[in-house]
């Protein structure tokens, strides 16, 4: 289409359309229907976004009436602070392990449970169930499950002859304990999405390839994985963003400790603003963090252009 040379210039319409012609009125009508949503977004998403950008250049403490302009001071203070790099490391460690484990486990469960029968339906339900338990409740329950002295998990491990693990109380295991809870909670959702993806792959491919002599592994590697890639991309992007922004479970289960070993970015932002009274500096951190997430999401999309196969 575009290769076709546009020889004849579009004829200028002899009569000018009236200002409120049909198309424009329709357009305005469409716009007016979208208006409430747009206003909502403007007020509750974009205004805070722009405002936190503004606050990041001030020394505001949330309660002082005066916001003193401090230029890039907040940014330089954060970028020269060792804690920033520590927190970044913790956040990425959490995110990478969480995303990989959830996706791999979710895919395996999806392959296992992708059968049409009542029994499998019930099993899927059990795997999915944690997803609709509130994170706050799950966290409170897990604090007790993981309690080193009185917890169910350690007493279970004890019967297997394994020494008590300190879980949330040890800087070495705290982050993994948090990841464990996160995986437990979200793997069911990943599984369901993967099952949806698996079912949208036409069976013809499998039939044709098995006629050509492909075994199960070949089929999985050359048909399932490539054709599942749009689903995988979706899950990688959404779980990457949500893992980067993990907060509730950290706040309730560890508060960022012990010894800062689970201090993720949002936790730090929150503590800085509401416990240390540094709203300005924490806004700067918000902006930096926003840019980091945006950059990584862009990177994921760029990579996906090469690797994701859309069918048809």
């Amino acid at each position: 289409m575009s290769s076709q040379p546009n020889t004849a210039a579009p004829k200028a319409s002899p009569k000018k359309k009236p200002f409120f012609h049909y198309g424009r009125i329709e357009g305005l009508k469409d716009f007016s229907l979208a208006l409430p949503a747009i206003l909502f977004l403007l007020l509750f998403t974009y205004y805070p976004l722009v405002n936190s950008f503004y606050l990041s250049f001030t020394d505001w403490n949330l309660i002082k009436p005066i916001k003193k302009f401090v230029g890039f001071d907040n940014y330089t203070r954060i970028l020269t602070d060792d804690r920033f790099y520590h927190v970044l490391k913790v956040t990425f460690l959490y995110t990478i392990i969480d995303v990989i484990v959830t996706l791999v486990l979710g895919l395996l469960l999806a392959l296992l449970f992708n059968k049409q029968s009542k029994a499998y339906g019930v099993m899927r339900l059990f795997v999915f169930m944690p997803y609709y338990i509130s994170m706050v409740i799950a966290s409170i329950v897990f604090i007790w499950i993981l309690n080193p002295k009185y917890g169910v998990l350690n007493s279970f491990l004890g019967t297997l002859g394994i020494n008590p693990v300190q879980w949330l109380n040890d800087p070495k295991t705290a982050l993994f304990s948090l990841i464990m809870v996160s995986v437990w909670k979200s793997v069911g959702f990943t599984m369901i999405i993967f099952i949806g993806g698996l079912r949208s792959i036409p069976l013809d491919y499998y039939e044709a390839s098995s006629l050509d002599g492909a075994n199960k592994f070949h089929q999985f590697w050359h048909i399932t994985v490539p054709l599942l890639s749009p689903t995988t991309l979706f899950l990688v992007v959404t779980s990457f963003i949500s893992s980067m922004q993990v907060f509730q479970s950290v706040d309730i289960m560890t508060g960022g400790g012990p010894l800062e070993s689970t201090k993720v970015m949002v936790m730090w932002i929150y503590q800085m603003a509401f416990e240390e009274f540094r709203a300005g500096r924490s806004s700067a951190l918000v902006v930096i963090f926003f840019l980091i997430i945006m950059a990584f999401t862009a990177l994921q999309f760029a990579v996906s252009k090469k690797k994701v196969h859309y069918e048809g």
Binding site: I143, K149, D170, G257, F277
Partner: protein, 432 residues
């Protein structure tokens, strides 16, 4: 929490609309004369009183209404102190504030510094409130830069709660000085090989409030007198930590650290696995009710000095509230902290009476007869000191808390860790 928050905000909004919406911020040199005005007014009280204290609060509000029938007090529970504090920040930023609120001691400097609370001085003077009747330390805890921003409402201090049954059986007495701890601990600790099965004592590591008095009692301090530099790395300030490490390494001492550590300590104490625990006096009542053994209470052992620090919360008036609400709010906090109901309030809440006149009254004597455990606290009434007052405290205290954590969890060395903490603290202090 969220559910409570919304109606609360709506309520605050409604109140301010009804009362004509206004900021009337007073410059506060002289209090307005006591108005004869008895037009009905509604004030909101944002508090952190846990379930166990609500009966007491109901009682107090009923009594208050008998005295001031035209003032309606709406109590709104806003969660723990830290939650309440965050909501107050938000309310202040939105300029929709309650009239009265609780304030936790360590948060006072920040709020006072930013003009969130009303200076009570002029009102105290106008109504001739005898502030000398409060313990000096308690009153000072709610003053900042020589202005009184709040009055002590629920006051606690950390004490050692001990298993008296166990102590009597083993023939030990709670140590009164640091020097006595070694012998005491040796007697009480039980070991199975290298593993301690019963600790002699436990000090909470999860909150600096518990070991700040140890710093002071060792002869040290957290900040220099001019509050410009950290002194936590001075020999006297680190003395307690070296002792803690000694006792911990010997298997005498248990130090809980991190979230959930409080529950563990409590449970170990109930199970007889710890002989004596440092905890807030506010929980003495809970221990009395739940332990299957006899409970004793002892004041913190001393070294160079023997003090403990004030905890709990005060009650303050929000400066942004409209004038008629402020007047009502002042009447409310004066009532809440008055001698008249002081002992009753203490009994209901499990916190300490704050008025000397109340303690000396007949009612006070009955109270001590009923709860002899509180005697240990009141014999040291004037040794209850305010906390380190600095707007940066929530931020910089995290550094020496972390140093203690590294010593407890990773067996770190005291001196290098405390030196590092002091360095980080100094970076923060530069901002003030």
């Amino acid at each position: 929490m969220k559910k409570l928050w919304k109606p609360a905000l709506a309520g605050a909004l409604a109140v301010s609309v009804v009362s004509g919406c206004g900021g009337g911020s007073s410059d506060g040199e002289a209090a307005p004369p006591a108005p004869e005005d008895k037009t009905p007014v509604t004030i909101q009280y944002w508090h952190s009183h846990a379930d166990a204290q609500l009966a007491g609060l109901d009682y107090m509000i009923k009594e208050f209404n008998k005295k001031y029938p035209w003032i309606t007090v709406e109590p709104v529970f806003q969660g723990a102190y830290t939650d309440l504090q965050k909501k107050l920040l938000a309310a202040q930023a939105a300029k929709e504030v309650p009239a009265v609120a609780n304030v936790e001691v360590s948060a006072l400097p920040n709020f006072a510094d930013s003009g969130v609370f009303m200076d009570l001085g002029p009102y105290i003077k106008r109504d001739k409130v005898d502030t000398n009747d409060f313990s000096k330390g308690m009153l000072k805890a709610y003053a900042y830069n020589d202005k009184q921003y709040g009055l002590p409402l629920i006051v606690s201090t950390s004490v050692f709660v001990y298993n008296k049954t166990m102590f009597d059986k083993e023939g030990v007495k709670p140590p009164q000085t640091w020097a006595e701890i070694d012998e005491f601990a040796k007697k009480l600790t039980q070991k199975n090989g290298n593993e301690t099965t019963r600790y002699a004592l436990s000090v909470p590591g999860w909150d600096t409030w518990y070991y700040d008095p140890w710093v002071v009692n060792g002869g040290g301090s957290i900040l220099s007198a001019d509050k410009k530099t950290a002194t936590i790395d001075q020999p006297d300030s680190m003395k307690f930590m070296k002792k803690f490490k000694e006792w911990k390494d010997a298997g005498y001492m248990h130090i809980g650290y991190g979230k959930g550590a409080s529950d563990v300590m409590r449970q170990m104490f109930y199970d007889g696995k710890i002989g004596m625990i440092q905890h807030t006096s506010a929980l003495i009542k809970m221990y009395l009710e739940n332990a299957k053994f006899e409970i004793g209470v002892s004041f913190l052992p001393g070294d160079k000095t023997r003090t403990s620090q004030i905890g709990g919360a005060g009650i303050a008036v929000m400066d942004l509230a409209p004038q008629n609400q402020k007047e009502a709010a002042w009447k409310f906090i004066e009532f809440m902290t008055s001698t008249e109901h002081n002992v009753k309030w203490a009994e209901y809440t499990g916190y300490l009476p704050t008025r000397k006149s109340a303690i000396d009254s007949e009612e006070g004597k009955t109270y001590f007869g009923k709860y002899p455990q509180y005697k240990a606290v009141f014999d040291n009434f004037d040794n209850v000191q305010p906390r380190e007052q600095h707007p940066g405290y929530p931020e910089f205290s995290a550094f020496y808390k972390e140093a203690l954590g590294k010593i407890v969890l990773e067996n770190g060395e005291v001196e290098p860790l405390f030196k590092e903490a002091a360095k980080k603290m100094n970076d923060v202090l530069k901002d003030y």
